[in-house]
Every structure is written in C-alpha cells, then in structure tokens.
C-alpha cells in the first residue's frame, strides 16, 4: 500500500518537473531567411547604444521596448561566435560566460547588437546597435550607498553596498539595521584601494562617528567627519566640518535643497590620532568644503565660498542663499613638515556665474572633474548641476581651462569618481526620472579629457532600475573588495571601543551651534 502511494508521489513529482522544464525550455534558434528592414534603431532599456563598455563588465542585459510576438537578438564583434538569444519575453538576459569571452577577445573593437522582432509570421530587423569594447578594464568593484530618496532620514533601510562589476554580486558593507536603524554615509578610499577606508555613520544609539579600515582591520574613530579625502600616503585624512541646513521649494521639480550655514576643513593624522586645522583652510570669512587630494599628495583641492551671511543669522534659507557660488581652490601641503602653503584659486565661481563643487582629481593628476551648478553647495539637489573637467595644466597665461562634458543631462549629475587608471568615471545622475540618483559609467580619455556616452550600471534584471524606488549615491570605484564588511563592521560600530582623538577642532571653531536636527539630512 505504502509503495503504491510512493509511486504516485514519484509520478506527481516527475510530472511537475516535466511541466517546469517545459516552461523553461530554451527557445530554438529561429531560421530567419527573410525579414523587413526597419530603418531605425530599436528602443532598448537601459540605453546601451553608442556606449563604450569596459572589457570586464558584467553582461549588459536589456529590455526591448518594441512590441513583438518573438524576439531574436544577435550580439557579436569581430572575433568569436555570436551570442544569439531568442525569447518571447522582451527582457534579454545575456549568458555571462559567452559575454565575457566575447568582450575579452574583442578589446578595442566594435560590439554590435542586431535585434529582430517577429510579428504574426514576418520578421523585422532594426538597424544595428553599435557599441565599443574598450581596451582598458574598469576597477572591478563599485561601492555605493542605497536608500530611499527621503528628505530627513528616519527609519528606512539604508546601506553601503559593494558590487562586483564583473558579475552582479553585491554584498552589504554596512547596513543601518545592523546598528539600530542608524545611517551610513560617506565612504572614502585611498588611491582606489581598500587598504585605507573611512566610512561615516550616524546613530541615535551608537553616536555619530567614523570607521577606519586600515590594513584589513576595522576600528572606530571617536569623532565625526563629513566629506573626507585620503592623502595618497594613507597617513592623513582631510575632512570638512559642515553646518548643514535643509529647506524646501514651493514649486520647483526638485523639492529640497540644502546649504551650509558654515563649513571648514580639518585633517586627521592617523598615526598621531590627532585632528588639526590651519587658518588657511578654516577661514572665518569663507566656507570650505569638499576636500580632495591630488594623487601626488602635494595639493589639497577644495571648494570655497565667501560667507554671505552672519553666523548669528538663523533664517533658513538665508536671504542670499541663491547667490552663493563656490570657487575651485587648492592649497599646497608638505606632509613631512606638516606645513600648508597659500590658497590658490583655480576657477572663481563668481567669474563664470556658477558654483564649482566636488572636485575629484584623475589618478594621473591631469584633470579635475567637478560639478558646476547655478548656486549652492549640494549638487545632487541642483538640477542644473553638470560635470565639467578642468585641465590642471595651466595654459601659457597661467589660466586653467575647463569644459562641460558631453555626458550631462538636464537634471542633476553629481558624486563622480575616477577609476584607478583614469580611463573610467562613475557618477550619480537623475536623468531617468529626476528623483532617483542612479550610477552611470562613462569611458574617459585622459589625453583629451573627453568622456563618452555613459551607460547605466548593468543589472541581472534589466528592469531593476525601472522598479527600484531607491537612490544610489556616492559611487566609488575600487580595485579590490573591502576586507571587513557586514557584521564585522557592525560589531565595531556597536562596540564601546574607539580611538580617542585629540580634538582641538570642534564645531565651536565654526562659531555656530551644533548641527542638531540637520544631522539627519539625506545627502544623496
């Protein structure tokens, strides 16, 4: 009797497996002898047309936005077999192994995509989509913060994640839920490496502090940093102290904006566990922010603006908030003697009627990639924010030339960074919908300062970015994965052990009250 039931059960399982297998069987490759030609490019999403792919990028899966009963896609280059995919579903999922081989064998070549659609009994072929495979790889990991586009972060899920660009694997570096709904914010790497990493976090329960990951060991630093930049030696970390205030607009498409009531720069000497500053980078009549080191460690670049309001002024926003324009400046520094030179202005915001923010220097030292917007200090909140490159080799008149990159959209571009070989840039853009920041990758020519059409970070599910209601901010490229992640870091956050810092620099140096509520402004 039991055997009989067992047999029935076995047959049922077999039938189920059969049905599932039938449902998932691959479509046979159709023989397309004749087709009508459609003299336009097919609409695909994400837009993977006319872009340059790194040879080590994960398959750029896409959705065909054309109505059809059946889809047939051929992906090919000069060498090696074509990748052919036939599907009833417009989502085209490229086999990773075949994609990897195709890109690897065809560096510096064209990558073409032919799309055929079948409606009723006839096939149509669209114009071939042409892309390029670059010769130089991109750093294999990208780190970003993911959260809701909230205005004041309160209890939603936020985390810093590390994504393998050669596949789709993503691991959480630090999530807020691991320290009682805390917030995680700026993450900074030294020379695109993970030997020296700084991650800031905020928590009602565990304080507002920073995590230092040095040589694979994580420690808590007993103070908070806002925007940070590693000196290439890894011995020093410069940071800004910002008195941030948020406000809202009555009519604009971007509802929120923020400004610094005051800000200054300081630096943390890792070995001495000391925070210092200099009047040259913390002037009372100027606001200094967004520090970044030149790759040779001789210059600290930063944005600097005159103080347009008095410290006592409590109005939010202050009267002249929309007149505030930051300059791109730099100051020389000698790490051996810990001495600062004089502040030089590279681009004066007032002169070009723009605010110059977030400088990032290419690892070859030639270019400064900056955001320029109409006013203010938060490029992610300024729809006018565009990416510009500044040639750091001055012309014969000692002037620094700059140009707007062709990769901009009519909404905000921000939080950019270079790959270690200066050949790739990654940045956050709101171009898809003007609210959610998404990571875009663009090929960059270090000789000319030209950036090529950017492409959206490939995902296994090509509809991922159509669906997710989270923003991706602060994308940064790194050469190897972060040594301590997840619970390893969370334990450090929760632990009472921390590096005590000699702190001659406090918020009082700014002459303003403590940030209070402004702590929780979402700095996407």
């Amino acid at each position: 009797m039991r055997k009989k039931y067992l047999l029935i059960l076995l047959l049922l399982i077999l039938a189920l497996v059969g049905v599932v297998a039938l449902g998932y069987r691959p479509q046979p490759t159709p023989k397309i002898d004749a087709f009508d030609t459609i003299s336009s490019q097919p609409q695909i999403s994400p837009d993977y047309a006319d872009v340059v792919f790194p040879p080590n990028i994960a398959p750029a899966n896409f959705i065909i936005k054309e109505q059809a009963d059946l889809y047939h896609v051929k992906i090919f280059s000069s060498i090696g077999p074509k990748i052919e995919i036939t599907a009833e579903d417009p989502a085209i999922i490229i086999p990773p192994e075949k994609w990897r081989r195709l890109l690897d064998e065809n560096k510096n070549s064209e990558l073409s995509i032919d799309i055929y659609t079948k409606n009723k009994d006839s096939w149509q072929k669209f114009n071939t989509i042409k892309n390029k495979i670059a010769n130089d790889p991109i750093d294999p990991y990208i780190v970003y913060r993911r959260m809701r586009p909230t205005h004041y972060r309160m209890r939603g899920k936020v985390g810093i994640y590390q994504r393998d660009l050669t596949s789709y694997n993503e691991v959480p570096v630090l999530e807020g839920t691991n320290h009682r709904n805390g917030c995680v914010n700026c993450h900074t790497f030294c020379n695109n490496e993970t030997k020296n990493v700084i991650i800031s976090y905020r928590s009602d329960h565990f304080g507002n502090k920073a995590l230092l990951i040095k040589d694979g060991k994580a420690q808590k630093i007993g103070t908070k940093f806002t925007y940070t930049s590693w000196h290439p030696s890894g011995r020093l970390l410069s940071f800004s102290v910002n008195e941030v205030r948020q406000f809202f607009y009555g009519t604009k498409n971007e509802v929120r904006d923020a400004f610094d009531r005051d800000s200054m720069l300081a630096y943390y000497l890792v070995d001495k566990k000391t925070v210092k500053t200099s009047p040259k980078i913390s002037s009372p009549d100027r606001q200094e922010t967004y520090p970044t080191w030149s790759p040779d460690g001789k210059y600290l670049y930063f944005s600097s603006a005159p103080m347009l309001w008095k410290n006592e002024e409590q109005m939010v926003p202050p009267d002249k908030f929309d007149e505030l324009k930051y300059d791109l400046t730099r100051i020389s520094y000698d790490i051996e003697t810990d001495t600062w030179g004089q502040v030089e202005t590279i681009i004066k915001g007032e002169d070009i009627n723009k605010t110059v923010l977030l400088p990032r220097i290419s690892p070859d030292g030639r270019w400064a990639l900056v955001c320029m917007a109409d006013y203010g200090c938060f490029p992610a909140f300024r729809p006018t924010s565009d990416l510009y490159v500044v040639d750091l080799i001055p012309d014969s008149n000692g002037q620094y030339k700059y140009k707007k990159l062709d990769i901009n959209s009519d909404v905000s571009e921000s939080y950019h960074s270079f790959s270690s070989n200066s050949k790739w840039i990654v940045f956050s853009s709101k171009r898809r919908d003007s609210i959610f920041t998404r990571p875009y990758i663009s090929s960059f020519e270090p000789d000319t300062g030209i950036a090529h059409k950017p492409f959206l970070l490939p995902q296994k599910d090509p509809e991922y970015f159509d669906r997710t209601l989270r923003t991706f901010s602060l994308p940064a490229l790194i050469k190897s994965p972060i040594a301590v992640t997840g619970e390893g870091l969370a334990k450090v956050v929760r632990s009472s052990k921390e590096i005590k810092v000699n702190m001659p620099v406090t918020m009082a140096t700014l002459g303003v009250p403590s940030a209070g509520g402004a702590e929780y402004i979402s700095q996407e």
Binding site: G156, Q246, F248, G250, T251, N253, P317, S434, R467
Partner: protein, 630 residues
Amino acid sequence: MENQPQKQLYKYLLRNVAIFSAIWLYLWFIVDIKLIYHGAGRILDFPCFFKTSQFFFSHLSYPAGLLEYANAFVSQMFYFSPLGAAAITIVVWLSAVFIRNILTKVDLTRLSFLRFLPALIAVVTFSQYTYRFPFFIVMMVVLAFVSLYFSLKIKNLFLDLMVLLLLSVFLYVIAGPAILVFALLVLFYRLLNSYNFSVTIIFVVSALLIPYLIGVICFKGSLNNVYTELMPFSWKVTTIEPKPMSLVWMYILYFWLPAIIAGYYIYILVNNKLSNAAAEKKHFPKFAALKAKTVLLFKRSPVLKPILQIAFGLILFAGVYFFVFDSSRKILFQVDYYLAQRNWKKVISSAERFPTGSYYIVNSLNQALYHQGRLGEDMFAFPQHPFALFLSEKSHISIHWPKISLLMDLGFVNYVEHEVAESLEKFGSRPYLLKNMIISLLAKRNYATANAYLNQLSKTIFEHKWADDYIERLKTDPDLKNDQRIQSLRKNMPSYNHGFSVFPINDVLKGLLQKNPENKMAFEYLMTWYLLSGRIEKVVARFDIMNTLGYEKLPKYYQQAYLLHTMAMGQKASLKGYKIDPAVLKTSREAIGYFNMLRMGDEKALDTLSEKYSDTYIFYFISLPSIMQK
C-alpha cells in the same frame, strides 16, 4: 455509548465555533480591522506586499523572511474588515488547537481552557489599535512545530536528536529567533518525561547556537538581529513602541506556555520530594471536595456548564470592551480613514464623537467642514487652535498624513511630495502614500518617476486597479489633459518659487491665490487662518474678493468678525454689498454684551459665554490669549 466521543467532539467543535465566531465578529464590527490596514499614519510597522518574484526572493535572504512574507500577504486581508478579522481568527484558532494538543501531551489537559489566551491577547491588542499580528503568526508556527514534535514521541535517541535539530533549523529559517521559545517548550517537555538528558543538553546548546550559525554565518546577518528578529524585545519593536507596557501582552503571548510547563515541572519535582500523592490530598482536601461537588453539579444539570462558559465569555468580552478597547484611538483612525476616502460626512460625524480636543482631529474636521460648505459656519462649534489648521506646531513635524490630504486639496503639490517622501521613509511603500506621490508627480509632469511608483502600486493585491487605470490612461492621454484632478492641481499649483524650512502659512495661501484667484479652498483657509490668529481686520479687508468667488452671503463667522471689528474700531467698515444676518447680529450682540460685562470684572459673564456662546467666533476671540498659552 459509542456515540459518546463523537458527541464530545461535536460539543468541542460547537464551543470553538461559537467562541471564535464571536471573536471574528468582534474584530470585524467593533474593531473594524480595515482601520488598522489604513494605519492613520500611526501604525509604523504594517507591512507592504507586492506580487513580484523579487519581493518574494528578497524575503529569502534572511531568517524569518519567509514568515515576514507570509505575514505581509495575510496582513493585506485587513483591507476588508471581514477578511482581516477572519485571518486573525484563523491564526488564533489554529494556535488554540496546537496549545490544546501540547497541554494534553504534557498531561495538563485540565488547563486546556488556556488555549484561548492567544485569542484573548489578539482581541486586547487589536482593541488598542496596535499592529501585533506578526507575533501571533510567529507563535502559531512555533506551536505547530512544538505540537508536531510532541506528537512524534521518537524512541531512538539518534533519530530523536536529528529530528529535533532538523525542526530547529527549519523553524529558525522560517520564523527566526522564536526558535528559542520552541527550545524552552521542548526542554521542559523532555525534563517532564525524563527523556535522555544528553540529547536534551545537545539540543538546547544547538538551539542557542543555531541563530549564530545560520543567521550570522550563513545569512550574513547581524548579531544585533539574529537573536531578536520578530521577538517582542527586538530593538526594531521597542524603538517604535511609544508605550512599552503594551508589549507586556506580547511577552505573555510568547512565554506563558513555557512558564506554565516549567511551573508544572517544578511542581512535580517538589511533589516527588514530598514523595507521596497522599500528601497532596492532605494538603488540598477542601479543593478536592469542591472539585467533586462541582463535577456533580455539572452532571446533574448538563446545561449549566455551557451557560456558565458563555456567561464567562461574555463577561470577558465586556471586560475587554469596557476596560481595554480604545475608543478614542478608533475615532482617530476613523477620521483619518474617512479623510483618505474623502467621505466628509463621516469625518465630521466621527470627529464629533471624539471626547477631547485634538489638533489632529480638528485639522481633518476643518477640511471636511470646508468640503461641506460649513467651515465659516460651524468650525467654532469645535475646539479650535491656530496650530490645528495646518498642524504647524513644532511637535507636529512628525505628523504627515492629514497634511498630505489637506495640502493636496489646496494644490500645494511640492509640500505634498515632501510629506509623502517623509512618510514613505517612515511607513514604507503604503498604497495610500504611493497614490499621493503619483498624483503629485503627475501634476508636476514628472511622468518617469510617476511611472516607477505606478509600477510598484500595480503590484499590490487590492489597490492595483487604480495604478493600472493610470498606466492605461497615460497611454491614450499622455499629458492627462482629460484628468480633472490633475488639471485642477495644475491650475492651483503655485508658480512663485521660494525656499522655506518652516511651513509659511501666509505665504503659501497667498501664493496659491496668486496662482489661481478662484481657488476657493485657499481663500477660505486664508480667512480661517486670519480668524484663528485673531486678525479680524484682515478678514474684513478681504470681503471684496468674495463676490468674485461667488459667495451669496457672508459666512457666520466672517459676520461675527466684522461685528467685533466694528466694536474694536468704533466705526463700520464696508460690507462690500453683503448684509449681516439678524440672527447673527442678535447672538453677537448678546455675546459682546457678556464680553463687555466680563471686561468690567463680572466673572459670571464668562460662565454664560462658555455655556451659551462657545460656538461663536466672539467667544474664540476672547479666549485666544489663553488658547495661545496652551
């Protein structure tokens, strides 16, 4: 004789059907579960559910995710009160079945009436308009596992241990740290039955290690969560619970059964030490006699027992209703629910029942009164405060939902977007919030982002039709020119841009009127703002606009403000063609008379004013200094 067990079974079923039907009806009609689904911007942890594989798979990445997924799905049934009430009833009924089985297995059948405890706790917690449903589901699953293990009675030690470990791992993956409750119950069961001690010790140690091994090592979870997820002491629960005492019920739900079995074990131990059962009889002869008498009484009168049981049940229900049921909170939820439904009459009738003054209630009430054309006629029949109009006090920064509704009605779309963004962060992707976000984005022609939210809403179980309809409409009418609501918002949205951090009531209302002088709601709110802040000269100065807005007569409170203004200024301002209603004049004169008496030092005049004229603007105006001090 043969029919006796069957009869017993029928009796048992009948009793249970009666009790659980009563619970179902109570949850349906008295609690009205749909109010908890709506949440009123007060229930922070109500789950969202989306019909996508991604949503399902995202729940597989952590222990207890499966149960959270199931809970999210079942909780959607709360959308319809009868369905939601049925879901809760089924969960507590199943729990009761498992508890009965467990109590029988540990020889505590006489305590089987305690199986109704989860049901009672459910009735209590839902009567307080809190959302504790996940805990009930967790406990139901734990009880099912315990019940299953107790029923197996495995003799082979190795097999016994393997089954225990397998059940523990399984339970941890499904229900998370509630495995600890399972471990406690199994521990006492094994001790009671003198099962192999080594196996017991190995099992207990394993149960303690499993959260770490599976949670931290396999699922890469945080130590902070792997031992606390879905437990009442989890930081996720305690940080959002304003009343820690209300969690006591959850502690009882989780630990009463282990406590009882542990107590029984200790009792047995102590009893064994006393070494004879006779001692028991000697100790409790009175109780034994009482028990015998009771049994005899029930045997003589078979209807007595069910009557007593029903009476006890009714007393219990009445007790819960009178002592635990939070009727004020229900009204708060109702007001917000009907506000979201734009059922203005029900907003007003619910608000009228609210026992004390509440800014929150008054804010919604004013909006409903406006839509019923009664704002200028009846608003002072309710306790008013300038802060209530826009919930503009500092402490109101965390209140979003009524503001969303009000600002959307007024046409101040950007601030709606801000409030919704805040709410989405706090409450998750609740359909009510998604709809408001979509409307504001569509009004601003931000179609790409609206589509992202529409896609999400279209994956909900009960509220997808609204999204599907918009998705279709956008195909045929891409700029939504035929959508009256969107067109009206676009007509009203202010065009003058300004930055602000504190909600600037005056500027916003003036900005709205500047954009659309026919925005009647903005006008009435501006006038109401003037009335509430005591600026009667501004009320009088705006009578001229009322002709263009089509007012046939001056609302009562504007007339009273005019009369107060005349009295204060000693001369009449222009009525711009409007007339003072004789009845209003009479009431106002009387009230002003008492006001003058009060000014002369007659304290009794105040009593008369508050008794007879409390619904007049004059009384509000007189009370304004004391109102502002509150």
